[in-house]
Structures are given as structure tokens and as C-alpha cells.
């Protein structure tokens, strides 16, 4: 029983000391801590906590050199990523054979390309209605998927000046944009 009380006290002192070290102890907490520190056990716990803090501070201040070529490697990797992004965002960079409209079949990320192909096929076969409405598209790619350089949302937003029922349908489905009255029916 006494041990439980001691552990509880110890835990409380540790918590309050932690808050004090981080300048987050309020008035009530300070009064409680002062009370707990009247006890030897409380003082001992406080000293241990302060010792840990001191050791961490000393370690934080110790030198930790970075690899000499790190900066150049980062800059090179960033340049490559940037070049890839530019290549992927160029319209009509590679048009699929037989494509009649660059804006639908231009090359984005592989996933986007696949999704677009499926969308185009579905539009032809099903009149761009049933399959999309079933939610199958949404299950394949998330519009906020940050692992892809360009998302569906980016594509739709970039192409709002162009016409096309698939695009309008996607805008309606993912962005809540108004569809043309004729398409909605």
C-alpha cells in the first residue's frame, strides 16, 4: 500500500517537474509541487529529473558533424525531382497512340495515366455514368494522396477552362462543382 502511494507520488512529481522544466506549470501545479517537495522522496525524484535534463542538454550541445557531401546530394536529388515533376506536368509530353485529345491522354504519373485510360474506356462503353456512379473510381486513387506528384484534383483544377464531360463529371464527384444541367440528367 505504501509502495503504491510512493509510486503515485513519484509519478506526480515527475509529471509536475516535467511541466516546470518546460515552463508549463500553472499556479495550482506549482503549489502542489511545493507541497510534494517537502518530502525527501519528492526531492530525490526532482534531482533525478534535473540530472536527466542536464545530461540531455549536454548531449544536445555536443558537436554532431554532418556528412561533408550531404548538401550537394540533397541539391542533386531535389534537381532530379524537380525535373521529373516538370516532365510529368508537360501536356502532350507523350500522347498515347491513337489518342485524339492530348488533354485526356497526356502523361502524368503512371497511376493517373491508368486511371485516365480506365475513365476514357468507361466513358465510351457506359456513357460515363454507371461505373463512376458506383464509386469504383474513388477506391483506386485518393484525391489527396500525397505520394503522387499530381493528383486528380490538381488535374481537374488545371483544366477548368477546357470542356469535356468526363472532367465535369469528376469535378462534380470529387470537388462538388456544378455539373451542366444536361449532364446531370
Amino acid at each position: 500500500m505504501n509502495e503504491d502511494i510512493n509510486n503515485e507520488t513519484k509519478d506526480r512529481v515527475e509529471r509536475l517537474i516535467g511541466l516546470e522544466m518546460d515552463d508549463r506549470l500553472d499556479e495550482a501545479g506549482r503549489r502542489e509541487l511545493d507541497e510534494l517537495l517537502r518530502d525527501d522522496e519528492g526531492l530525490r525524484v526532482r534531482d533525478e529529473m534535473l540530472a536527466v535534463r542536464a545530461v540531455l542538454s549536454a548531449d544536445a550541445a555536443a558537436p554532431m558533424p554532418v556528412p561533408p557531401l550531404l548538401r550537394d546530394k540533397i541539391v542533386a536529388r531535389v534537381a532530379t525531382a524537380r525535373a521529373n515533376a516538370v516532365k510529368n506536368s508537360q501536356p502532350n509530353a507523350q500522347e498515347a497512340p491513337g489518342g485524339t485529345s492530348g488533354e485526356v491522354l497526356s502523361i502524368g504519373s503512371p497511376v493517373l495515366r491508368m486511371v485516365r485510360s480506365i475513365a476514357a474506356a468507361a466513358a465510351v462503353v457506359l456513357g460515363a455514368t454507371g461505373w463512376f456512379a458506383s464509386g469504383g473510381f474513388g477506391g483506386m486513387v485518393r484525391a489527396d494522396d500525397v505520394h503522387h506528384v499530381r493528383t486528380i484534383e490538381d488535374e481537374i483544377r488545371d483544366r477548368t477552362d477546357e470542356d469535356g464531360s468526363i472532367r465535369e463529371f469528376l469535378a462534380w464527384k470529387f470537388l462538388g462543382a456544378d455539373r451542366k444541367a444536361g449532364d446531370a440528367k
Binding site: 533525478e48 545530461v55 540531455l56 558533424p65 556528412p67 548538401r71 546530394k73 531535389v78 525531382a81 524537380r82
Partner: protein, 186 residues
């Protein structure tokens, strides 16, 4: 170029596509980001990979940075994600260390100067080894608070949780660290 306004200008230029501005941001932050990554992943090679990945993700998504946090805090968020991804990768490849190997390299040969490494105190080694034995999440909390001096609100943003969760998490992490160091720390 040290004021907040100057940094905002730099970030705006980088958002606009300026390579020079983004390189300035790399120059400004890559060392700090490397140190955070190294303290989380505990392996110099993995840390190097993480820091490169951080800046690649940053340049790819800088258009989404909205100044709600500082650019540095945003980079630290990316670092946390990239470092956790790296740790998961290490686990998948079956060489999850958090062990003394990685730490020895980190202390002795991985980051250069053997003279400086030999000057590392026994206490510092003990602390780093204890840190290496914490769970990645607890270790990250200690690194962000004790080494980087981030405020609770900033840590909460980085860890994507509430300030209350950070408070409890830090309490738990410190308790565990104290235990690993032996109840009477060095």
C-alpha cells in the same frame, strides 16, 4: 536573411518555382534536419537518405505549404514521417537495430571526425544508447523537445495530435528514459 519576413519571402519565391530560393532553404536547414533524422533513425546512412527524402518531399509539395506553421516546423513534420517510413523499411528488411551497432557508428565513424568522436563522453554515449532503446515515437518527442527546443504546440503539429497528448507522451518518454539510464542517471 535571418528575419521571419525574409524567410517568408524566400519560401514564397521557392513556392513560385525559384531553384535558388529552395537551395537557400536547403542551406539553411539541412544540418538541423540531418541531426533530427539521425537521432530518430540512429543510423548515419539511413539519416542521410531521410534528409534527402525530406527535401524532395518538400520541393514536391511546397505549393501546399500555407504558413500556418513555420517552414522549419513543416520540414520537421516531413522529417518525422520520412524517418518513421525509414524505420518501417528497416524493420521490413529485418535489420531493425536500435542497437549498439548503429549507435557506435553514429558516435564513432559515421559522421566524420574521429577526434571529436573520441571526445564524446561516456555519459553522452549512455544517453544516446538509452535514447536508442526508446520507442520511435517517445524518442521523437524527446528529440523535438529536449534537443530541438520545440514548443508543445509545435510538437503537437509535427506529431499530428493534441497538446495534451504531447504532455502525457513527454511524461511517459522521460520516465522511460530515466529508467533506462538507471534510476540515478549518470
Amino acid at each position: 536573411m535571418d528575419t521571419i519576413a525574409d524567410e517568408r519571402e524566400l519560401v514564397l519565391r521557392a513556392k513560385g518555382g525559384s531553384e535558388e530560393a529552395f537551395t537557400d532553404l536547403v542551406d539553411r536547414y539541412h544540418e538541423r534536419i540531418y541531426r533530427i533524422a539521425l537521432r530518430i533513425v540512429h543510423d548515419p546512412d539511413d539519416a542521410e537518405e531521410v534528409v534527402q527524402e525530406v527535401f524532395v518531399r518538400a520541393v514536391t509539395h511546397i505549393g501546399r505549404f500555407d504558413f500556418r506553421a513555420s517552414f522549419y516546423t513543416w520540414l520537421v513534420s516531413i522529417t518525422r514521417n520520412a524517418a518513421f517510413d525509414a524505420l518501417r523499411g528497416v524493420q521490413r528488411r529485418g535489420r531493425f537495430k536500435q542497437t549498439e551497432d548503429g549507435l557506435d557508428r553514429y558516435e564513432a565513424d559515421g559522421v566524420g571526425d574521429p577526434v571529436e568522436a573520441s571526445q564524446a563522453t561516456e555519459t553522452a554515449e549512455k544517453v544516446r544508447k538509452a535514447l536508442g532503446r526508446l520507442k520511435p515515437r517517445d524518442r521523437t518527442l524527446i528529440v523535438l523537445r529536449e534537443y530541438e527546443g520545440l514548443r508543445y504546440e509545435e510538437i503537437a503539429r509535427v506529431m499530428e495530435c493534441s497538446v495534451g497528448t504531447i504532455e502525457s507522451g513527454l511524461h511517459r518518454a522521460r520516465k522511460r528514459l530515466k529508467m533506462l539510464l538507471g534510476d540515478a542517471p549518470p
